[in-house]
Amino acid sequence: MIRLNINGHVHEVDAEPDTPLLYVLRDDLAMNGAKFGCGLGQCGACTVIVDGQAVFSCLTPIAALSDRTIRTIEGLGNSPVQRAFIDEQAAQCGYCTAGMVMRAQALLEHNPHPSEQEIRSTMAVNLCRCGTHMRILAAVRKAATAMGSAKVTKP
């Protein structure tokens, strides 16, 4: 049994310690927001937040996660990042969206006023096979404005 703290709740998970967090989220805990794209850290569809930073959950074994704080899109509530993705219509098929939102969320919590270069280099590891990157970047800029002017609240 490995105890995982996800979105503020502790889950006892009966899985092999080398199991990627992504599989546990989707197969054991029915949290299907994070997606499987490549399983190799090459697409970012599986991105979640661990201890405040964006990680590829497909490459993060649960053995690495006891005593750490995991956040997924299911626990985000109504973040300005989600609002901005909706307003900018930054999803086409939506497969990459949860990962994009989580990576942007982690960025803006650390750096509410990122430069264009910081936004681009941070988001570069998440791919959108529908090619909505320009809208995604617009959404991140918009969320930055919203979060930068409001006080960022972390759960």
């Binding site: 310690p17 090459q42 590829f56």
Partner: protein, 179 residues
């Protein structure tokens, strides 16, 4: 240079020329960090010139075969390795079937200090826009200092017959600060 080469496989002129032009050698690993700019430039230099450089560098290296480290023996894989690294680096992972070297041949894993191994685990090898080049995801956010230290120690023990590394989490923290 002779003494400094800790390669699991001896470098040949052809292997060096490949590495210098493409940033990758199937028997040794990928060029990263400051070496990236060098191999990028050399990609557009006439092949004969790069070959001449390779001939010169190879002439400074030992001719006899260095040891060939064995693949990991029995026993289960470390769960951190299996879950974080195995998808690409385990025996028979798709990447190794596409010509990427076993970690046993990695220059970083066979180096005197764990610096390069820790560095690459933390930072990965970033995408190079529009260029075919080696890539590795960064693990700085996914793994704690203690986990990176354990993993590097495990790699050394499993894939190299050089002296074991003793790595403290504080050593990793120091390299992380430099990120």
């Amino acid at each position: 240079m002779q003494a400094a080469s800790k390669a699991g496989q001896p470098w040949t002129e052809d292997a060096l020329a490949d590495y210098l032009r493409t940033g990758f050698s199937a028997g040794h690993g990928a060029a990263a960090g400051p070496m990236t700019a060098v191999t990028e430039e050399l990609a557009s230099v006439p092949q004969a010139d790069v070959h001449a450089m390779a001939v010169y560098v190879a002439s400074l290296m030992p001719k006899s075969a260095a040891f060939v480290a064995s693949a990991p023996g029995g026993g289960g894989l470390d769960p951190l390795f299996a879950g974080a690294c195995g998808g690409c680096h385990a025996a028979d992972a798709p990447m190794t079937r596409n010509g990427a070297p076993s970690l046993a041949l990695s220059t970083a894993v066979n180096a005197p200090t764990p610096q390069n191994v820790i560095q690459i685990m933390l930072n990965g090898i970033p995408w190079r826009e529009g260029k075919p080049a080696p890539y590795m995801p960064a693990f700085a956010a996914a793994l704690t200092d203690a986990q990176v230290a354990d993993l590097a120690t495990y790699l050394r023990k499993t894939y190299s017959d050089q002296t074991a590394w003793t790595i403290a989490p504080a050593d990793v923290a120091k390299m992380r600060e430099a990120l």
